[in-house]
């Protein structure tokens, strides 16, 4: 079953980090990605640009509205994702706990449509 691990964290935390620490964190993410590949569960992953670079679009009553910034102004912002294919939620949670993002932010685990819904 496929699960999306969504990594939320405080962007300021990253920006304020000393260079050496940033490198260490990057290394941890690379190792995590490598472990996912080695276990043959990784379907895709990426890191997102800062939420300040986000633009939101909505079309209502034929009128489009375009706004600067992310959809939700919260302290923790979506910063990246991993899409994994594992047998069940327990396995997905165990991978989520290994994600470096779980140590400095929050990892939300969601099944793709059709997994939990049976659709």
């Amino acid at each position: 079953m496929e699960y999306l691990l969504m990594l939320y964290s405080e962007e300021n935390g990253w920006l304020k980090m000393p260079k050496a620490q940033q490198e260490q964190a990057m290394g941890a993410y690379m190792a995590y990605t490598e472990a996912l590949k080695k276990a043959a569960v990784l379907k895709g992953s990426n890191r997102l640009g800062l939420s300040s670079t986000a633009t939101t679009v909505r079309v209502a009553n034929g009128k489009s509205e375009v706004l600067n910034g992310p959809f939700a102004e919260s302290k923790e912002q979506l910063g990246g994702y991993y899409l994994i294919d594992v047998p069940d939620l327990d396995a997905a949670l165990s991978w989520a706990a290994r994600c470096p993002g779980a140590s400095h932010g929050i990892v939300e685990v969601r099944p793709l449509w059709g997994v939990a819904t049976g659709a």
Binding site: A31, E34, A35, K38, A39, L89, R98, P100, A102
Partner: protein
């Protein structure tokens, strides 16, 4: 006494009684009907009633008896409501009378051991045995247990309910197994206790309250087993093993919250009192004349303590203990630890040969300590490229940020 003070006293008395008596009361209420869920519900209502009543009327002289009287009434209501279809009036009356008669006794019989055996019964899914014990005997809530075991709270709740239904419907008895089946059944109880401890141990620094508590709760449960079955060497062995691990908890982190491996720990920070207790337990166990997995594991810990304290290498003994343990368990995890001990004695090359035998085991592919051990051994033999890759996987599989940093430092120290 003003109401604030009496509230405080009532709730601290209730807490103390909960700690001491929760499992005893659940076991007692559920023993006849095997309805653990109903017993828990009744007891939680009794605790709520106590928190409302005691501040007003003062704490009763026998709080346990007070709780049992209230819980018994609630329990009969709950059981009647739940089981209207399955239970005959006659049977319910018998249960009521049984509970009444027992409650009249000053001492509530301790059936927690029977409850532990029911929770770890072979008919119960092995993954849910430890959570079930923590809930039924200690009253921990499902959300906390779910967090510690890395399972979604909804799933954990469902699994606990299902397990309780199995106890009720499959007719799992509340009793201590007969002499001939006791060792085997006790093993499942001890395994579940150790599983709870291991989950608690994941957070070596003890930063996460839920996890630290879990290690303490596991020690509490094992103590309970050794008190109620004082001549079971494996129960003593497990308690000794857990106390050894717990004694070194502080020393596993330096002032910067960095991970400190055993060889670099300062024995002065170890909890000497716990170690003394562990040694005494192990000695008691060895006099009972039946060796087992937990006694061997505790003996290995004891050998590590001796070596670190005296500086006298004793790797031959450690390897011997691992040989015995491997013969007993055949576990690839034991094989890895044995290889690390072999490395100290015969060098990393011999150790790599030793883990080669288990390297194909699929269970190890996602087992962090295997990759960390492999990386360490490869680094020692000078195979830096392979070591770097093994470290990479070990780092990727690690949950604990400080261990991750430690492994990254090791990896960075490799020659390019």
């Amino acid at each position: 006494m003003d109401s604030f003070e009496s509230d405080g006293l009532a709730s601290s008395t209730a807490d103390a009684v909960a700690r001491r008596s929760y499992g005893k009361l659940v076991a007692f209420l559920a023993a006849r009907t095997r309805d653990v869920g109903a017993a828990e519900d009744a007891l939680s209502e009794a605790f709520a009633a106590a928190l409302a009543d005691w501040p007003r009327n003062g704490c009763p002289s026998n709080p346990e008896g007070w709780l049992l009287t209230v819980a018994r009434r609630k329990f009969i209501d709950v059981a009647r409501g739940r089981r209207r279809d399955e239970i005959a009036g006659e049977e319910l009356r018998a249960i009521t009378e049984g509970l009444d008669a027992a409650a009249a006794d000053a001492e509530i019989p301790d059936q927690r051991l029977a409850l532990l055996f029911a929770c770890a019964h072979p008919a119960i899914d092995v993954r849910i045995r430890a959570p079930l014990m923590l809930q039924a005997v200690l009253g921990l809530d499902a959300a906390m247990i779910a967090s510690a075991f890395l399972v979604s709270p909804a799933t954990m709740g469902q699994r606990l309910v299902r397990a309780k239904n199995t106890i009720r419907h499959a007719g799992i008895p509340f009793r201590i197994p007969e002499r001939e089946e006791l060792p085997q059944r006790l093993e499942t109880v001890l395994d579940a206790i150790y599983a709870a401890f291991a989950e608690g141990w994941v957070d070596a620094a003890g930063v996460d309250m839920a996890r630290r508590d879990l290690a303490e709760e596991a020690i509490f449960l094992c103590r309970l087993v050794t008190e109620l079955l004082p001549s079971e060497p494996e129960a003593l062995g497990l308690l000794a093993l857990m106390l050894h691990a717990e004694a070194r908890r502080q020393a596993r982190r330096n002032v910067d919250a960095g991970y400190v491996p055993l060889a670099e720990q300062d024995p002065a920070i170890w909890n000497a009192h716990m170690i003394d207790e562990a040694e005494a337990l192990l000695f008691r166990a060895s006099n009972l004349g039946s060796i087992g997995r937990y006694q061997l594991e505790a003996a290995i810990q004891s050998a590590h303590v001796y070596r670190c304290r005296t500086g006298r290498p004793n790797w031959a003994e450690v390897v011997q203990l691992y040989d015995a343990l491997l013969a007993l368990s055949g576990s690839p995890v034991v094989a890895i630890n044995r290889a690390l001990a072999i490395a100290e004695m015969d060098g990393a090359g011999a150790a790599l040969d030793a883990i080669q035998e288990v390297a194909a085991d699929a269970r190890l592919a996602e087992y962090q300590p295997y990759w960390a051990a492999r990386a360490e051994l490869l680094a020692k033999t000078g195979a830096h490229g392979e070591a770097r890759h093994a470290y990479e996987i070990a780092i990727g599989l690690e949950r604990d940020a400080s261990v991750r940093r430690f492994l990254q430092q090791r990896q960075a120290a490799l020659a390019p």
